[in-house]
Amino acid sequence: MNIHEYQGKALLKAHGVPVPEGVHCTSVEDALNAYDSLGSKVVAVKSQIHAGGRGKGTLFNPTSRDHVMDGGVKIAFSKDEVKTYATNILGNLLVTIQTGDEGKVVNNLYIEAGCDIAHEYYLAILVDRENKAVLIMASTEGGMDIEHVAETTPEKIHKISVDPNAGLLGYQKRDLGLDLGLQGTALKSFMKSLTSMYNMFLNNDCAMVEINPLVKTGDDQIVALDAKISFDENAEFRHKTWDELRDLSEEEDVEIRAKETGLSYVKLDGNIGCLVNGAGLAMATMDVIKLYGGEPANFLDVGGGANEEQVKTAFSIILEDPNVKGILVNIFGGIMRCDIIARGVIAATEALSLDVPLVVRLAGTNVDEGKAILAASELNIHPADDLAEGAQRIVELIGGVA
C-alpha cells in the first residue's frame, strides 16, 4: 500500500526526521492560504499522486486531453505563481514515466516552504530478500533516477545490511555517512536522521522508504525533501491508522472489490479473461495464453478454498472488462474440489447470461465429477484436459491470434 508524500512527511516528522514545513491542500484557495501561513517567499507546489517522475511529468485536461503545463512539481516565487500552478495542477491529469499514458488525476497538492540546498543525496530503506534483512542504500547522486546510477556508476551506491539480531549499529550509520562524504555537524545530523528513519520503517511495517532527494542544507542540516513510502499490506492488522491514510481514488475500484471477496485480481490489456486457483498457476496460465498467440485480459487468483459465490464474483469481475472476448478457467483442485468449481461455473454463467466462449480445464480432486457436471449442462462450455489445450482452444474460439 502506497501513501502520498505529504502523509509520508508527517510520519517522518513524527519520528524526528527534519522535513520542510508544508501544508496539504485540495483547492486553489487552500494553496493561497498555505502560501501566506508558511511565510516563505519561495515555495514548492507539488502534485500528490502515487507515482514517481512527477517533476518531469506533464499535465493534461482530463476530458479534452489538451496540454496544460509541463512539470507536476513547480517552484513558485510569488503568490500569483502559486495560484497559476495550483490551478493548472488540481483536477488535471498528470502523466509521468510511471503512470502510463492514462495518467492520474491530481486531487491533492502539497505546498512546501523552500529549502536552501547545498547537496542532494539518495536514501532508501527496504527489505533485501537475498540477505533476508533490512537494507539501507544511499548515494551521493541525489535527485537522479537511482536505477540509472546503479547501472552506470554502481560504485556510487553504498549499502548497509542490518543484522536482525543486533539492529542498526552506530558504526554502520557513521560509515554510511562517511561514504557520502559527510563530516562534522552534517554527519551528526545524518546519523540522527537515519536512526529516526529506520525506527519509522520498523514501527510502521514499511515495505519501502525512498527519500530522493535527501538534502544537506547550507547550515549542514540533513532534511528529507521527498518521501515515497509504502507499507507491507500483510501487517495491516496491527495498523489501525492505515485506513485513514489509504487513498482509494489511487486504487483500481475493481481490484479493491476483488480483494474484499478474497480474490486477487489485476487488470491487463488483453482480451482473454482467466480464472485460476493459485498465484503461480495464474501467472503460468497468462504465459501460456500468450505463448499460443493470445493476450490475457487479467490475472485472477481465486485462492485455495473458493466457494460458489466467489467463483460467481470472479466471473462478474472478469466480464466487467469490455475487452474480454473469451474466458479460460484453469483449476488444479487440491483443497478446492473440481465439482464445486463446476457448479460455481454453471451458476455464474447462468446468472450472468454469459455470451462469450468459455473453456474450462479441470484437474485434481474430484475431477471426474466436475467434468460430468459440466458435460451434463446445456451450456456452451468447452472442456480441456490440460493447460496447453485450454489455451489453444480459447485462442481459436475468439478468432485466432490477438
Binding site: Q98, V127, R129, E130, K132, A133, V134, E147, D163, P164, N165, L202, D205, A207, D232, N234, A235, F237, R238, S264, V266, L268, V276, N277, G278, A279, G280, L281, A282, M283, A284, M286, D287, V288, I289, K290, L291, P296, F299, D301, G304, F332, G333, G334, I335, A363, G364, T365, D386, L387, A388, E389, A391
Partner: protein, 307 residues
C-alpha cells in the same frame, strides 16, 4: 531415502484445534502421515479426533516434542501469531533434540516478522524452516507416506523425481506432469512465494543431488528477486542430475503484485526472461509451458540414460 522427511516421520500440528489445522490434520492422517498430536496454547490435555481416532494436544511445543520425539511440525496458525509459532517450534526442537523440520503454511505473515523469524531459525543450525506461504513438503511412501501441508495427496506416487517450487498449484501441475510419463516423486518441496522465507532453491538442489532415491529434479520458479538465477549458477557447478525448469510470470506487467508478495518485478529485476536465460545457461532443460514439463523431463531422462 527422500530428503529431510522420511515417509514415517513423526509430525506435530501447530494450530491443530483451529478450523484449518483440524481440516488438514485429518487429511494428513487420511494420507498416511504419522501425526503424533498437536499444539494449541490453552488447550493442552484435550484431544482432537482425526479419522475417528483421538490425538493429544499440548500447550507448548516443548511439551509436545518431549512427549512425542517428533521430527517435524506444520503450522496452521493465523498470520499475526505465525512468526512466533515458527520461533517457538525452532527453539523447542533445538533445545529438546537439536534438530527438527518446521513447515509453515500460513499466508500473509508481515515481512518484518519473517526477517526476525528467519534470523532466529538460522541461529539454530539443526532446525530447517520450509515456507511460509507454501503448500508444504511431501514424501510419498510405499504405503501412504508423509504429507506435511495442504497438497492433494492422491495425485502423488513414490518415485525418483525431486520437485522444488515457489508456487502451490504449479507444484501440483509439475507432479501431474511427472505422473503423465509414469514417474513418481522422491520428495516435493514448496518453498513458498514470500520475499523472505526459510529453505531456498539451493538447499533443495543440494539435498536432491545427495539423495540416492532422486534421479532428476524439476525446479519451478517465479518472477521477482534472483533466487532462481543464483540456484541455476550453483547447479551448473554442483548438480550432476538432470534438472528441468519452468518460470511463471513472463507476461506479468512490471510493478504489479501478482498474488504472491514476492511475485513483483521492480525496476526490471527478476523477470521471467532473465530467469529462463539463467536456467538455459546452466544447462537446465526449460519448458515454456508447464504442460510440457513431462515431455521435457522424459527427454532429459533419456539423454541421461535413465529411460
Amino acid at each position: 531415502m527422500a530428503i529431510w522427511i522420511e515417509e514415517d516421520a513423526k509430525v506435530l500440528v501447530q494450530g491443530i484445534t483451529g478450523k484449518q489445522g483440524m481440516f488438514h490434520a485429518d487429511k494428513m492422517v487420511e494420507y498416511g502421515t504419522n501425526i503424533v498430536g498437536g499444539c494449541t496454547p490453552g488447550k493442552g490435555g484435550k484431544t482432537v479426533e482425526l479419522q475417528g481416532n483421538p490425538y493429544p494436544v499440548w500447550n507448548s511445543m516443548f511439551e509436545a516434542i518431549q512427549a512425542t520425539d517428533a521430527d517435524a511440525t506444520v503450522i496452521y496458525v493465523p498470520p499475526p501469531f505465525a512468526a512466533e509459532a515458527i520461533m517457538e517450534a525452532a527453539d523447542a526442537f533445538d533445545t529438546v533434540k537439536g534438530e527438527g523440520v518446521v513447515v509453515c503454511i500460513t499466508e500473509g505473515i508481515p515481512t518484518l516478522d519473517m526477517v526476525k523469524a528467519v534470523a532466529f531459525v538460522e541461529n539454530r543450525p539443526g532446525v530447517r524452516l520450509i515456507g511460509p506461504n507454501c503448500p508444504g513438503i511431501i514424501t510419498p511412501g510405499d504405503n501412504g507416506g508423509a504429507k506435511i501441508g495442504i497438497m492433494p495427496g492422491h495425485i502423488h506416487a513414490k518415485g525418483r523425481i525431486g520437485i522444488v517450487s515457489k508456487s502451490g498449484t504449479l507444484t501440483y501441475e509439475a507432479v501431474a506432469q511427472t505422473m503423465s510419463i509414469d514417474e513418481g516423486q522422491s520428495t516435493c518441496v514448496g518453498i513458498g512465494g514470500d520475499p523472505v522465507n526459510g529453505t531456498g532453491f539451493i538447499e533443495c538442489l543440494a539435498a536432491f543431488q545427495a539423495d540416492p532415491q532422486t534421479a532428476a529434479i524439476v525446479m519451478i520458479g517465479e518472477i521477482g528477486g534472483n533466487a532462481e538465477q543464483e540456484a541455476a549458477a550453483w547447479a551448473a557447478e554442483n548438480v550432476t542430475k538432470p534438472i528441468v525448469g519452468f518460470v511463471a510470470g513472463a507476461t506479468a506487467p512490471p510493478g504489479k503484485r501478482m498474488g504472491h508478495a514476492g511475485a513483483i518485478i521492480s525496476g526490471g529485476k527478476g523477470t521471467a526472461e532473465e530467469k529462463f536465460e539463467a536456467f538455459e545457461a546452466a544447462g537446465i532443460a526449460c519448458a515454456k509451458d508447464p504442460s510440457e514439463l513431462g515431455a521435457v523431463l522424459l527427454e532429459s531422462l533419456k539423454a541421461a540414460g535413465l529411460r
